[in-house]
């Protein structure tokens, strides 16, 4: 016999070809309980196991992908086919079938229940996806950090190497990106022309300067194959740089979705770093402001000890432009202010159910900073 197993909001029905109920398992008449069962807890599995042990069928047809999955886990092969006539019939007369499990039911009562189930299920899924979103953010931040390290290690090598051919360029172009971009496009200093330089993005003045020094350069001649070798690594460097930039933009986009409030308070990239260090958005939201303020300092200490970078005074929060761009005497104060607002923003993002207070928090920050600055100025 072919039997049809239909999951419905009010329970699970086992039906025969004619649509008569052969067996059934009513869900509790409560939206929370229903969404817990359907939302992937283990109880759905138990219910199915129980039902299946009671019926005999040559073929089982189900109306829902989750049912098929659970049955497959139990070693039972079921056909997923919500378009079967029997299922159409069940969907056509929800009240008639529901009342066989729950007793008399009013249309309005049923619709309200669906509304509540929809809300509860969606909320828990949003939460789930958000937490997977912040894991994506963390991976992306990792990529950016590692790329930065690689870029910074390789850039001086390229510059030094290229200086054999065109030493004056090292002085002219401090920015790694500009320098290497040029080399990746035209490594031969004798072939540098104004239109090429302009297309790389240099101003007219800069282009003239570069051409002038290329003509008078004291650098050695290099063979085409030497230049090609340098061009190759320069191009790879540029590719990695651009991948990193792309990733930064992607992080900003993810952050605006996962943490719109936090993203309004600090630059999304700084916010993303905070999430990465805390381990997740939720963990960040559970930290007190005082911890947020020094988040990331541990790594700087480590870098200081192993790589000889400057000793850190502060954590990631000091990368925020509000802190970097303000007078030294105020930085601690502003960092504390930001940490407080970040703590609030992260909490709203995690527990606020979609509330947006970002603009308000932003205004409060700007106002306080203005007051701090005025006070500093009046002290002279």
């Amino acid at each position: 016999m072919r039997l049809f197993v239909a999951m419905q909001p009010y329970g699970i029905l086992v039906l025969d070809e004619k649509g008569s109920i052969v067996d059934k398992f009513p869900f509790p008449k409560d939206a929370k309980a229903i969404s817990d069962i359907v939302g992937g807890g283990s109880s759905l599995r138990e219910i199915l196991r129980e039902l299946i042990s009671r019926i005999r069928a040559d073929e089982i047809v189900v109306n829902d992908a989750a049912l098929k999955g659970i049955l497959a886990d139990m070693g039972i092969n079921a056909t997923l086919s919500p378009e079967e006539r029997v299922f159409l019939e069940v969907r056509r007369s929800p009240l008639r079938y529901a009342s066989q499990l729950w007793g008399d039911l009013k249309q309005k009562e049923y619709l309200y229940l669906l509304n509540e189930i929809g809300i509860l299920l969606t909320k828990s899924k949003v939460k789930e996806r958000l937490s997977s979103l912040d894991q994506q953010i963390i991976k992306a931040v990792d990529f950016v950090d590692h790329s930065n390290k690689a870029l910074n290690i390789i850039a001086p090598t390229i510059r030094e190497w290229y200086s054999v051919h065109f030493p004056e360029l090292d002085e002219l172009l401090e920015d790694h990106y500009e320098f290497i971009k040029l080399v990746s496009i035209e490594p031969n200093r004798k072939k540098m022309r104004e239109d090429i330089l302009r297309s790389v993005g240099f101003s007219e003045r800069m282009a003239e300067k570069i051409i002038e020094s290329s003509r008078n350069s004291m650098g050695a001649e290099l063979s085409d194959s030497d230049l090609e070798a340098i061009r190759n690594i320069a191009s790879s460097w540029i590719n990695l740089y651009e991948a990193k930039r792309g990733m930064e933009l992607y992080i900003e986009e993810l952050m605006r979705r996962a943490a719109p409030n936090l993203s309004a308070v600090v630059h999304p990239l700084v916010g993303a770093r905070l999430i990465a260090i805390a381990g997740s958005l939720e963990r960040l939201a559970n930290l007190p402001a005082s911890s947020i303020q020094i988040l990331g300092a541990h790594r700087a200490i480590f870098m200081h000890l192993t790589k000889g970078t400057k000793p850190p005074k502060h954590g990631v929060i000091f990368q925020a432009k509000e802190v970097r761009n303000s007078p030294k005497s105020l930085r601690g104060k502003i960092a504390r202010l930001l940490a407080t607002k970040i703590a609030i923003a992260a909490k709203v993002d995690v527990y606020g159910g979609g509330k947006y207070v970002g603009d308000e928090l932003r205004r409060e920050i700007d106002e306080k900073i203005r007051k701090y600055m005025e006070a500093v100025r009046s002290e002279g």
Binding site: P9, L88, R91, Q107, N115, I119, T122, R257, G354
Partner: protein, 227 residues
């Protein structure tokens, strides 16, 4: 300021004060669904329905002939987003109606959740409309399938969902965005292709195809009836 119900469509209103603005009667007086304008006329609160924000409103402005939404209608809405259009449909169908709203983007559906908290006739469903086998347990048979997903396979999505959920005699409406189906073809050719694809199943009749410009250039609303 005067208000009159549309000649053909019940529960759809025109507010006349110099200009002619489309509106629906607010199911939840005092509460906005998004940032629409509220107007109170003779103790009744109306919500202005902007054709630039909603393709269904644009279609009505452009002379839509088939508006299947009535008190008590059951609707499956694919690509409901934050619910701008759905909130007006919610006004029209009232408390005895229901909208099953499928949306795949979780950051968009957050706003819909807020809407559904006080508009009890909206049921949010966070799923892809490409996989009705994930939500058919929750959805009942419906009178109308309304689709606005702007995806290249949107016709296929419409047919699969309508086959499953639309009652015989029910109406399937699809907002077609020409550029998301094929940027290289002229829009008219794309609309024709959409019509043919749906008619090719043999299960639907074409009711009308309506260009949505100037409100939504290169968009059309195409309306079918299930046999």
């Amino acid at each position: 300021m005067r208000v009159k119900e549309d000649q053909n469509f019940r529960n759809v209103y025109w507010i006349l004060d110099g200009k002619k603005q489309l509106a629906t009667r607010n199911l939840t007086p005092g509460v906005r669904a998004y940032d629409e304008t509220l107007k109170e006329i003779q103790g009744v609160e109306y919500r202005i329905w902007n054709p630039k924000r909603s393709k269904l409103a644009a279609a009505i402005h452009n002379g839509l002939r088939n508006f299947p939404f009535k008190r008590g209608s059951k609707v499956l809405y694919l690509g409901i987003a934050s619910g701008t259009t759905a909130s007006h449909i919610s006004d029209v169908i009232g408390e005895s109606g229901i909208i099953f709203g499928v949306e795949v983007a979780h950051w968009v559906i957050r706003d819909l959740l807020k809407l559904a908290e006080f508009r009890k006739n909206i049921i949010p469903i966070l799923e892809s409309a490409r996989r009705p086998q994930n939500y058919s347990w929750l959805v009942t048979e419906v009178d109308i399938v309304y689709e606005d997903v702007a995806q290249p396979d949107q016709v296929d999505i419409l047919i699969r969902n309508s086959d499953l959920f639309l009652r015989s005699g029910g109406v399937a409406m699809i907002a077609v965005k020409a550029s998301s189906i094929d940027v290289t073809l002229p829009p008219k050719r794309i609309y024709r292709r959409v019509e043919e694809e749906v008619l090719g199943t043999g299960r639907y009749e074409l009711l009308e195809t309506l260009d949505l410009s100037p409100y939504d250039p290169k968009h059309a609303m195409i309306v079918f009836k299930r046999r």
